[in-house]
């Protein structure tokens, strides 16, 4: 039953798959091998499960107001010349729990999906969620008229199955959103825009926190493993 391919799969390859670091072609190829090989699936589970456990164990609460106050009150010794600092979109740092529980919530008005000069309008986020509904966690799909969309996780919640999806549009800012499935399809529960096209923005850490708060608010457990996810998505990959 254990059919050996010519190449051994290293732990680091499996880890990169679990962490969403492989490109979609590599990820698809590896997923296909894992689907045929329970031993590989078990090795992969070590990486997905440790990450899920750590996310659950070290989820941050709100940033304590005293830290924000400390930054505001701190004395600054700066150089005479006014330093050029990359500006990050200011956003509310205090995130009331009750707000996180509200059903539809959009953060970041700079959402870049509606391209200004695109001849055809970009798909809505609900359509993006639908487009990747057969894509397992960790994989990236190219969505027409948008760009890359990567599934970061699936969760069982009080709202049913919810998925966290990252989009990197060909044009406009990156973002993440949570979509939950109801009878009519995918409903966007929360969307966060990075507001910048730069490769790195520390604000993404804030986004992670908000998403965690939202997932907690709808009673999400740990991220689903590949097998459970596939079953809940209804599409048997075989």
């Amino acid at each position: 039953m254990t059919e050996r391919n010519n190449e051994e799969v290293s732990d680091e390859m499996l880890m990169a798959l679990a962490d969403g670091e492989l490109d979609s072609a590599q990820a698809a190829a590896l997923r296909a091998r894992i689907a045929r090989d329970p031993e590989l699936a078990q090795r992969l589970a070590v990486f997905t499960e440790t990450a899920a456990a750590l996310r659950a164990a070290f989820a941050q609460g709100e940033v304590p107001p005293r830290l924000i106050a400390a930054v505001e009150a701190a004395e600054v010794d700066r150089q005479p010349e006014d330093r050029k600092v990359v500006a990050f979109p200011s956003r509310s740092t205090l995130w009331p729990m009750a707000l996180a529980a509200s059903l539809a919530l959009g953060v970041g008005l700079g959402w870049g999906l509606k391209g200004t000069n695109a001849p055809m309008s970009a798909p809505s986020l609900a359509e993006v969620a639908q487009a990747v509904s057969g894509v397992p966690t960790g994989e990236t799909a190219e969505v027409a008229r948008l760009g890359a969309a990567r599934v970061l996780g699936s969760f069982e919640t009080e709202r049913g199955l919810c998925r966290l999806i990252a989009v990197e549009p060909d044009e406009g800012g990156r973002g993440r959103f949570v979509a939950c499935r109801d009878v009519e399809g995918w409903d966007v529960a929360l969307s966060l825009s990075d507001g910048s096209t730069a490769g790195y923005a520390p604000a993404s850490a804030m986004g992670t926190e908000m998403i965690d708060l939202y997932l907690d608010a709808v009673g999400a457990g740990a991220a689903l493993d590949a097998e459970t996810e596939a079953a809940m998505l209804g599409g048997d990959p075989e």
Partner: protein
């Protein structure tokens, strides 16, 4: 907050807290460390080289502050007790089977070496890319990956996740 550097630091607070929590064994101590770090950083802002990474620079300040503090004072916090207390403080309504294991996860994390805890916090908890973590910690990406792989193997072993029937989250104990 109107000052651009201060605003950038405020936006970075969740990341700094994650860094700090990888050094300190509780959120209280992590937050004290974050506060000491941002105050020290802003006080010495003239020594920050523009165009370099503010997060890397603050992380170095943070590590030094933590080491200094612990050279002076013997650690007094019992890690396991602390982890258990945090669990009790959580919203009981949502504590599922998997979440009951969180105290074990925290304790197992605290037993790992510091460099491994940092990459776990940044990649697994904060969801940063390997490349971003490598830049932030100023180590090669391969080093980030080998630390991550080692740390997760040790964690899985410690938590009994590697056993044959530990295939689903809820059974991993």
């Amino acid at each position: 907050v109107t000052d651009p550097v201060k605003r950038q630091i405020v936006d970075m607070l969740p990341l700094l807290r994650a860094f700090a929590r990888s050094l300190a064994p509780s959120w209280d101590q992590a937050d004290d460390l974050v506060q000491a770090t941002v105050e020290k950083g802003l006080r010495n802002l003239s020594s920050f080289a523009p165009g370099t990474r503010l997060d890397s620079w603050l992380y170095k300040i943070m590590r030094n502050a933590w080491i200094d503090q612990h050279r002076a004072a013997r650690p007094v916090v019992s890690i396991d007790d602390d982890a258990t207390l945090e669990l009790v403080g959580e919203d009981g309504r949502r504590v599922t089977e998997a979440r009951l294991d969180l105290a074990h996860v925290r304790a197992a994390m605290d037993r790992l070496p510091e460099d491994q805890r940092a990459v776990l916090m940044l990649v697994c908890v904060e969801g940063l890319r390997y490349r971003e973590v490598a830049e932030m910690l100023e180590v090669p990406q391969g080093t980030v990956m080998s630390r991550l792989a080692r740390a997760r193997a040790a964690l899985a072993e410690d938590l009994g996740m590697t056993s044959r029937d530990a295939r689903r989250q809820g059974e991993a104990r």
